[in-house]
Amino acid sequence: MAENKNNYAVHVRGVSKTFGSGLTAVAALKTVNFDAREGELLMIVGPSGCGKTTLLSTIAGTLQFDVGEIDVFGLALQKMTKSQTTTFRRQNIGFIFQEFHLIPALSAVENVSVPLLINGASRAIAEKKSHALLAQVGLEGRGHELPTNLSGGQQQRVAIARALVHEPRLIICDEPTSALDKENGARIMELLQRVARAPGRCVVVVTHDNRIFKYADRMTEMEDGRIARVHDIKDGQSPPFSPN
């Protein structure tokens, strides 16, 4: 395992990714350099189509990139085989999606227990831990509910519990609040901020939602497949720009 330089949680150097080939080729990432640090909530912002989701997918290990190097907590993604990447995701990444992606046939507790089960935990242990996590996100006693019986904000909190239950070091969120109203969005972000501050953790959030910018520790602005600017943000302040 490589040494973890400068407390980097994610360290991206010279990464490019092109979709398709020939005339229809789209260069989604153009020699991107990027990093996220341990203990921070980092936001990636930028206009639609600038490559935010693509960048997020590459560091989460769900998308292969063409050239460059990505280190996540010292693990070099470019050197991994497909099945090593699967194991990497299983152990290190917590996912939070815009559409929540809860499985409708499963209760909240069963949904939350999935990452533990994938990691080989027994059902009893997985569900016990999941109940505890649901309590932490304010859904104590709602574990037996099916997702359809929960509000959007509650569903996203179930999804957050699911992203945290196996104690991953990197939590990846793509537009976590865009399906939520202001109040629920704020609650979700407060939760994620707490998570990011925990030792050895890092939360990366892709968003368009300027209502939540204030929760970022740093903000990375993308334009046309490149990192344009990086801003440090003081607690409670708005960033010095408004994207889009």
């Binding site: 769900t62 990497f88 299983r90 152990q91 815009q98 999935v114």
Partner: protein, 379 residues
């Protein structure tokens, strides 16, 4: 993860019901048609079950038990003198006309048993004694005959009643139980000598010779010995049974028409279940993609799909076999249509259902392998 897989399956109520009923229907169609076919084949050997004998000696050209080529009377003596034969007796067997009380005619299968030994006698008497067939004009009829020959009578035909076989009076002295035969005609037992009186005279009247091996001889050895010495054909009971069934396979369209229905059941199962399971997987692709992103390996997802497919398969199979057995119980009470369920049929159907499930699961597994985990970030 396996309970998760089952919950995902049960969570999609409509797909689940379609899958289970498709497989139930396929199992029912396959096993029920097989059972009717087996029953029908059993009927073709009805005579073998109604006139038990270890060895059947026939004309060399005879290929199955429902085919009669008369032998010479002297052939009985020749068979008796063959080494390895304990005894041999003649048997008359032929289709005859019975005239009913209302003047109509019905076909019957007349069986003439050697009168000293009554070898080939029915195993189960319902009324009267088989020995009484030695009385003048006496016959023992089976239960089917009561149904068929009672027309025009105030009461069903029974002990002491008379009817005519080819213009000769026959008097009922007993009723027996017989296995159904392919042609569905009643069995009428009498003695060999009286059978020759009932039947129109021809040059040769002997239908079969029934024989038994001597002590220390196997049936096969005695049968070979008879064939070698007399030039006649000697079937063991088992050989005659399978020869008869083979003959029906080769010479009738029955296996073909049943085979088509059975195949149809199989393909309906493949089509309905395969298609439904495939759409079930497609509908779940988003969730499967999320699982894949969260680090579920292709192998784990494949095992989950196989579990789901096998679950609906075994439930559908169980229901299908249950329905077939129910059908069988009802049928065996009535005696029609033919029905026999040897263990090979449910076993074969299980194989077919498992094949269907694995096929359906493989279609889904192919989708999973192609699935990019990155799709979970796309809207």
């Amino acid at each position: 993860m396996y309970h998760i897989a089952l919950k995902m399956l049960l969570g999609n109520r409509s797909k689940y019901v379609v899958l289970v009923s498709g497989l139930t229907f396929a199992t029912l169609l396959m096993t029920q048609q097989c059972a009717i076919f087996c029953g029908l084949m059993l009927w073709t050997t009805g005579s073998l079950q109604n006139m038990r004998s270890k060895i059947w000696v026939t004309d060399p050209k005879v290929e199955q038990v429902n085919e009669v080529r008369q032998l010479r009377d002297t052939d009985v003596g020749r068979v008796r003198s063959v080494e390895g034969t304990a005894w041999a007796v003649p048997l008359f067997w032929g289709l005859q006309q019975a005239k009913l009380a209302n003047g109509t005619f019905k076909q019957i299968q007349l069986v003439g048993l050697e009168s000293a030994t009554l070898v080939g006698r029915p195993h189960q008497m319902v009324a009267g004694r088989i020995e009484d067939v030695r009385l003048p004009n006496a016959v023992v009829i089976d239960e089917l005959a009561i149904l068929r020959l009672s027309a025009g009578r105030a009461k069903p035909i029974g002990l002491g009643d008379t009817f005519e076989i080819n213009d000769r009076e026959a008097r009922v002295v007993g009723v027996c139980r017989t296995a159904k035969s392919f042609f569905g005609m009643p069995y009428i037992f009498t003695t060999y000598d009286q059978a020759l009186q009932f039947a129109p005279k021809t040059r040769k009247m002997l239908s079969f010779i029934l024989a038994e091996p001597a002590d220390g001889w196997t049936v096969e050895a005695t049968a070979r010995s008879i064939e070698r010495t007399t030039g006649l054909r000697a079937y063991t009971e088992k050989d005659f049974f399978w020869a008869t069934i083979r003959w029906y396979f080769r010479n009738t369209g029955i296996p073909m028409s049943f085979g088509i229905t059975i195949l149809l059941g199989f393909f309906v199962g493949v089509a309905v279940s395969g298609q439904t399971f495939y759409t079930f997987v497609l509908e779940n692709l988003r969730h499967l993609g999320a699982l894949k992103a969260m680090g579920a390996s292709d192998g784990l997802l494949a095992r989950m799909l196989i579990l789901q497919a096998l679950t609906v398969g075994l439930i559908g199979y169980g229901l299908g076999i249950g329905l077939t057995c129910l059908f069988g119980v009802l049928v065996l009470k009535k005696g029609e249509p033919p029905f026999m369920l040897p263990y090979q049929v449910p076993l074969g159907a299980l194989g077919a259902v498992l094949f269907i499930c694995i096929f359906a699961a493989l279609l889904g597994i192919r989708q999973i392998r192609k699935l990019e985990p990155a799709i979970v970030f796309r809207g």
